[in-house]
Amino acid sequence: MATNACRPLLARPAPRGVGRSVLLTLPILLWALLMFFHPGANPAQLERIAAALTVCLMSALFFMMMKTGNTYRWRRCFFVLLGVLFPIGFIHNLIVARGTMGIPIEEMIAGRTPFCFLVIPTIILPAALTKTLVFPGSILSSTHGIASMVALWLACTLVLGKGWCAYACFFGGIEEGVATIPARARIRKIDLRWRYGPWAVLLAMVLLSLALFEPAYCMWLCPFKAVTEFVAARNAVGVVQNVIFILLFVGLVIVLPLLTKKRTQCSFFCPFGAFQSLFNKTSVFDVRIDPTRCKTCVICQNACPTMSLSKESIARGETLSTCMKCGACVDACPRQAAVWHIKGTEVAFKPERARLMFLYAAWALAVMFGGSIIAQGIATILHFVI
C-alpha cells in the first residue's frame, strides 16, 4: 500500500561491469545468431556479411543498455537505423521486382501487394462481417503474407502492448531520427486535444474501410507511402492520393518533428498506434511513476516523445494508454521516480529486474523483425558499394 511518506531516493543503477554485461547479452547474441545463421540458411556472401554486421550491432546495442543502464539512447540508435534502412532495402527490392515504386493495378488484383501491419485495424471489421480480407495481398505468401505478419504482430503485441511502436515499427524510426536533429523544440505548447487525433483517424478509417470495402488508410492517408510503395497514379484520383501521401509525410514526419522534437505522426495521426494502445492492457509490462519520489518536475513529461504523460497521469502514478515503453521518461527522471514495472507487483519493487525482463522480450522482437530489415538494408548498401 502506497504511503505519503517520502521514500529515500533510489540510487541510479550503477553501471554494470563488462563481464556481467556480456553475460546478460549472451542470450540476445545467441538469439541473433539463431535468427540469421540457423541451420538450413544459406545466404549469399553479401547477405552473410550484412547478417554478421546486424548480429554485432544488435548485440552491441543490448550490451550498452546493460552496461550503462540507459535504455532510450541505445534503443533510439537501433530504431533510427531501422527507419533509415527500411526504405533503402524495400525500395531496392521493389525496383528489382517491378521496376517501379507504384503498385500497378494488376499486382493488386493478383494479390501480390506486400502486407503492412498498419492495415490490421482496418481489415478486422470487414473480415469479421463478411469473411473477406479487404487487402490486395496473399494470405500465405512466405515473406510478406498476411497470416505470418498478423501472427507475429499478435504474439508480440500481447506481450509488449504498444511496445511494438518503439521496438518494431520501421516507420516510427524515420520521424524519431528527424526529431533528434534540432537542439531544442521551437514549438513547445501543443494543444492537448491533438492527442485524440489517432483515435479519430482510427474511427474514420475503420468506418470508411467497411463502407468502401478497401483499406482506406492505405489508399488515402498513409504518410509512409511516400517512401515505400504507392498506388500508381493513372487518373485524377491517383494523383490526389499521392499528393496527400507526400503532404502528410512532409508535414508529419519531417516538419513537425523538427519543430516539436516529438514523434508527431505517432502522437497525432497514426491509427495503428491508437489501436496498439488498447493492447497496453494485455501487456504485463508498463512504466509507473512512484508518487512518493516524484516532485512533479515534469522532466519526464517533456522527455516523452509521444506526449504520453500528463500532470494528471503523473499524479495518478501512471502513464497514459499511449505509452510505447521507449524508456525516455525512466532515463530522464533525476529522482528515479519513473520506473519499469510488472503488473501485479509493487511499484518500484526491483525495477531493474522488470526492465531486464521487458528488454529481453522487446529486444528479441527487435532482433527478429527489425534485425532482418536492417540486414536487408545493409545488404542493399553493400550491393551498391562493393
Binding site: 479519430a200 474514420a204 467497411l210 463502407a211 488515402w220 494528471e312
Partner: protein
C-alpha cells in the same frame, strides 16, 4: 396476393441488405451520433430524423428515376453527377455538423476540474434535428449497392405507386438494422469522445469532398 409477395420480397431484401446499408451509412452515422448527448432519447430522436429523411430520399429518388424511366439502370453521366453532388453536399453538412458540436459538451463532460482548464468547454446546448435530417436525406440519395438492387427490382413493377411502396417496405427492412444504434446513447460522453467524433467527422467530410470533386471533375473531363 401478388402485392403481398412483392412487398414481402421488399421487406426481405431490406432485411438481407441491412448490414450493407449500415456499412454504407456508418461513416456518417457513427461519428455524428457520438456528438449527441448521452442517453437513449436523444439517440431515438436523432435516428428518427435521420431515418425519416432517408426514407424521403429513397422515395424522391425512386419517383424521379421512375419518371425518367431510369430506375433500373441510371445513365453513367447522371449517376456520376448524382454521386459527386451528394458526396460534396455530405461533406459540407458533416463539416457543419462537426463545427456545430464545438460547444456542445457541457462542464460535466470534463473528467476533472484540472482537465476542464486544458480545453475551453462551453455551455451545453441542445441541437435540432435538421442536421440529422440533412445527413439522412443525403445518405438516402447516395447509390449504395442494396439501394441499386432494390431499384432494379422496383423497376419491374407495374406503376410508380407500387415502386414507391416497394421502396418503403425495403426501407422498413433495412431500418431494423439501425435500431441497435440507439444503444450508443449508453456510451458516456466526455471531452475525449466528443473530440474524437468531431475530428473523425471532419476527416470523413474531407474524404467525401475529395471523392465528390474527383467524380465531378472526371465527369467534366471525360464527358460521361
Amino acid at each position: 396476393m401478388a402485392a403481398f409477395v412483392e412487398f414481402g420480397e421488399a421487406l426481405t431484401l431490406g432485411l438481407a441488405s441491412g448490414p450493407a446499408c449500415i456499412a454504407a451509412c456508418g461513416p456518417v452515422l457513427v461519428p455524428s451520433l457520438l456528438t449527441e448527448r448521452a442517453g437513449l432519447s436523444p439517440h431515438v430522436r436523432y435516428l428518427s430524423a435521420f431515418l425519416g429523411a432517408r426514407l424521403v430520399g429513397y422515395l424522391l429518388f425512386a419517383a424521379a428515376a421512375w419518371e425518367i424511366g431510369s430506375l433500373a439502370v441510371l445513365p453513367p453521366g447522371l449517376r456520376v453527377l448524382l454521386m459527386g453532388s451528394v458526396n460534396v453536399l455530405l461533406a459540407v453538412v458533416l463539416l457543419g455538423y462537426a463545427y456545430s458540436a464545438r460547444n456542445f459538451c457541457g462542464p460535466s463532460c470534463a473528467k476533472s476540474e484540472l482537465e476542464s482548464k486544458l480545453v475551453k468547454i462551453g455551455a451545453a446546448k441542445s441541437r435540432g434535428a435538421s442536421g440529422a435530417a440533412a445527413l439522412g436525406l443525403l445518405t438516402g440519395l447516395s447509390l449504395c449497392p442494396p439501394f441499386i438492387a432494390a431499384g432494379v427490382r422496383a423497376a419491374e413493377l407495374g406503376g410508380i405507386i407500387q415502386a414507391l411502396l416497394f421502396f418503403t417496405f425495403f426501407f422498413v427492412g433495412t431500418t431494423v438494422w439501425f435500431v441497435p444504434f440507439v444503444g450508443m446513447g449508453c456510451i458516456a460522453r466526455n471531452q475525449a469522445v466528443m473530440t474524437v467524433a468531431r475530428m473523425a467527422m471532419a476527416l470523413i467530410a474531407i474524404f467525401y469532398l475529395l471523392t465528390g470533386i474527383a467524380l465531378l471533375i472526371g465527369r467534366k473531363a471525360y464527358g460521361y
